[in-house]
């Protein structure tokens, strides 16, 4: 397990910029994620949160800026090398391997941990067998950790949505990442599932010592787990602070309200999401 020293920035992003053709999705994004912290990113739809994730995990190539993990430049590296640096993620629209079982999905997550070579696999050497056995046990352990031990033999595509989200987290965690990036993990969850998710995130940080960055719209989840919150708006960072500071920030409220009138921004937040978004906002709007 990597236990990072608290407060040293694990992830540093400087001047990150991404343009799709002429459309600038994000610009001037500076982000510091302290090691061992839970850091939330919020903001209206289309603000560029997912794009920032995609740049960090090398899903897309940034147009400009620097990304450093524990002081090492990782921008420009291919995605699998970034993964080997210890970044794991989930996706806004769950992206499991649908025709593989729960345990197989989690086994793939261990790819970079396994050492046995191609020839050892063919010959079935002792090391290969031990490693496979250990990998299976570990996979089961992580399925258990996220609360779906009974899903090991089910095909991913046949699982209920909530379990798919958990499986995705197990697959990301099993590779021993230093940083776990969750893209809207509570989307489509009911309040009970939301509470379980908060609990899970706290255990990821507490028991596994993994730094967590999450994009989230459910403000109850965000306020419950995050130590710091970065607010995105229209491709740039609007502000950053503790949950208390963000709740009180007029600009944040305006950013959400601005979407409500629907004049600006690429993809307006659905109106019904707004009241659920920030508890104190709810009170002010009433």
């Amino acid at each position: 397990m990597h236990r990072e020293r608290k407060d040293a920035p694990l992830l540093q992003v400087r001047g990150l910029r991404k343009a799709f053709g002429g459309v600038v999705a994000i610009q001037n994004v500076d982000l510091d994620v302290a090691a061992g912290s839970v850091h939330a990113i919020i903001g209206p739809n289309g603000a560029g949160k997912t794009t920032a994730f995609n740049c960090i995990t090398a899903f897309v190539k940034p147009t400009g800026g620097r990304i450093m993990l524990a002081g090492e430049r990782i921008d420009g590296l291919p995605a699998h090398v970034v993964a080997r640096h210890g970044i794991a993620r989930t996706y806004q629209n769950v992206r499991l391997f649908p025709n593989m079982t729960g345990i197989e999905n989690v086994l793939v997550g261990q790819h970079r941990r396994l050492r046995a070579t191609f020839w050892e696999a063919i010959l079935g050497t002792g090391r290969f067998r031990r490693e496979e056995k250990e990998a299976r046990e570990r996979a089961l352990h992580y399925l258990d950790f996220v609360g779906i031990p009974h899903r090991a033999q089910h095909l991913a595509r046949n699982m209920p949505y909530g379990d798919q989200r958990r499986l995705e987290i197990a697959r990301a965690l099993v590779g021993d990442p230093r940083m776990l990036m969750l893209d809207e993990p509570a989307a489509g969850m009911n309040p009970t599932e939301g509470r379980l998710l908060v609990e899970l995130i706290e255990r990821v940080r507490g028991e596994l010592g993994v730094t967590v960055v999450l994009i989230e719209h459910h403000m109850r989840v965000v306020m419950a787990v995050a130590e710091r919150i970065t607010v995105f708006d229209r491709g740039a960072i609007l502000t950053e602070g503790t949950p208390g500071e963000i709740q009180a920030d007029e600009r944040v409220i305006a950013a959400y309200l601005g979407r409500r009138s629907g004049q600006t921004g690429p993809a307006p937040e659905p109106i019904h999401a707004v009241p659920a978004a920030i508890p104190t906002l709810e009170a002010r709007l009433a």
Partner: protein, 555 residues
């Protein structure tokens, strides 16, 4: 997988019609199929072959099956009760039979032969089934037979699921036994005769009628018992390999040439060869999801390597034993795979198919080119390749070479299985499912694709090596695009990603057409129809990988 999208877009949408109209429509469709079948000459060609001796010829059987299917569908679509369903089937059968009657009458009344060569009096005679040509009796019996056949089809469809399946299994067994009389009869000849000369299973032309009935009930009973057992065990098995089935299949494959003749052994040898290639492509396509239409290139590299190293002809560069040349061929094919793979594998998805298509042709063009002809023989090929020797015993009979291919196929299957259940196999599957996500989990896409491509090429090289030893000569025209496409079809028919599927696919696509050679080009017609039908009914393959099976039953 893109094949699934293609096949799922074929869904037929039916407009609501009155049930009787629907039955007439089905009857007309079946009738049109029958008429077409007769007019292309397939009926006459297949009428020479008896399935059940003295009772049913192959063309009669095919016609009966068409109407049988129409009756089956007519009854299934009926929303009302059983009697209405049966009535619909009878109507469909009557209409279908009447279409044939009209054809017979037309043939005799009007001279159609100027445009339709097959519309001869001989055809009319065959279709009159022993009655006087185009007599009233001859014309009337066809709709009646059609109605009876459709009724049987409807009844089978109305049976409880288990019994219906048993009846179909029985029917399939009789047809298979009748169709492949030569294979089974030659096998029975080698076995001790338990029933005595009065009770031969096969007559000189087809199944004996009594044996056909017995076989029908045996197979049906077998299907019933198997269903019961499966139910007892708790429904559908999760794994793609049902153990007893697999054991039977393997036992059959191992013992086959011992109990049959050289021709069958030769066909079996070809099947084994395609299995080798199929397992190679299975790594690329079935596991890693790489569509490769240039697969034959590596087959050619393996074949030419053995040819150059083992030939006693003028082009030989060495005269070593096959056992030395085989590993060299495998390694060279793998190296070729790696060299070709590097530029090609950065291309994604459907473009990969195009890129590899080019590669497959390049090899053939290279061999034929002026620069390489002096070394590789150009279109003259390389001849006089020595047969492999084992402990001073020359492997040259089809049976011996079949076992050689079979042993190699066994090794390749073993390696495939091991890899499938290791880190690399899971990485291949993951890449097939979602390449970006796989990469984000630390899988190097190019490296693992390259490995899949290299191993696939190595397997194809092994097949090529055996091929050269089998034929004793290699020519560029043996390495056509068609070979790659055949291998691809084997995988799709058998079930992508499934090893037993490769075996089943090779038997169905390579073995059966060889055994039906006497029907010339017509067999490809049925081959094509079977492929289309199969993609409708069982797009996941005949012996699908575990996941595809579960998907079908879960949705």
């Amino acid at each position: 997988m893109s094949f699934n999208t293609v096949t799922s877009s074929f869904k037929v949408t039916r407009r609501r019609r009155s049930p009787l109209m629907e039955a007439v429509r089905l009857g007309l469709i079946a009738g049109a199929a029958l008429v077409a079948f007769a007019l292309i000459g397939a009926y006459s060609a297949m009428d020479k072959r008896a399935v059940i001796e003295g009772t049913v010829t192959l063309s009669q059987l095919a016609s009966l099956l068409i109407v049988f299917a129409a009756g089956h569908v007519a009854a299934r679509d009926a929303r009302s009760g059983t009697s209405a369903a049966l009535l619909n089937a009878v109507v469909a059968g009557l209409v279908a039979g009447a279409c044939l009657s009209v054809l017979v009458w037309l043939i005799m009344a009007v001279n159609l032969r100027t445009t339709l060569v097959a519309a001869s009096p001989a055809l009319a005679k065959a279709l009159s089934l022993g009655a006087r040509i185009a007599s009233l009796e001859a014309l009337a019996q066809l709709p009646l037979i059609g109605a009876a056949s459709a009724l049987v089809g409807a009844l089978v469809g109305r049976l409880p699921a288990g019994a219906g399946k048993a009846a179909l299994t029985g029917l399939a067994a009789v047809i298979t036994a009748g169709l492949f009389r030569d294979v089974f009869a030659s096998m029975l000849e080698r076995l001790p005769d338990l029933t005595g000369p009065d009770h031969e299973v096969f007559g000189s032309a087809g199944l004996n009628p009594g044996a056909a009935v017995a076989l029908f009930f045996l197979a049906a009973a077998f299907a019933l018992v198997r269903d019961r057992l499966a139910l007892k065990r708790g429904g559908v098995p999760r794994s793609g390999l049902s153990r007893p089935g697999l054991v039977l299949l393997i036992a059959g494959v191992v013992l086959l040439p011992l109990v049959t003749n050289d021709f069958v052994a030769q066909v079996a040898m070809l099947v084994a060869l395609y299995m080798l290639m199929g397992m190679g492509l299975n790594i690329e396509l079935g596991l890693a999801g790489l569509v490769d239409l240039g697969f034959v290139a590596f087959f050619a590299v393996g074949a030419y390597t053995v040819a150059l190293l083992c030939s006693s002809g003028p082009l030989a560069i060495a005269d070593v034993s096959f056992w030395v040349a085989l590993p060299v061929a495998i390694v060279l094919a793998a190296v070729a795979g790696m060299i070709f793979g590097l530029p090609v594998l950065r291309v994604r998805g459907d473009y990969l198919a195009m890129a590899t298509l080019g590669l497959g042709e390049i090899i053939r063009v290279l061999v034929l080119s002026d620069a390489l002809s002096p070394y590789l023989g150009g279109s003259q090929g390389i001849i006089e390749i020595d047969h492999p020797r084992l402990f001073g015993w020359e492997l040259k009979s089809p049976v011996a070479l079949y076992y050689l291919a079979l042993v190699l196929a066994g090794v390749v299957a073993f390696v495939s299985l091991r890899l499938q259940n290791a880190k690399i196999g899971r990485a291949w599957l993951a890449m097939r499912e979602d390449e970006d996500v796989a990469q984000a989990l630390g899988i190097d896409p190019v490296a693992s694709k390259l490995l899949a491509y290299t191993i696939g090429a190595a397997f194809a090289g092994a097949a090529g090596a055996v091929f050269a030893a089998l034929i004793g000569s290699v020519y560029p025209h043996s390495f056509q695009l068609l070979v790659s496409i055949n291998v691809l079809a084997i995988l799709v028919i058998g079930g992508l990603g499934s090893l037993p599927g490769v075996l089943v696919g090779a038997i169905v696509l390579i073995g059966l057409p060889e055994l039906l050679r006497e029907f010339g080009e017509f067999r490809y017609l049925f081959y094509g129809i079977a492929l289309v039908a199969m993609m409708h009914v069982r797009a996941e393959g005949l012996w699908p990988a575990a996941y595809a099976k579960e998907g079908v039953h879960a949705s």
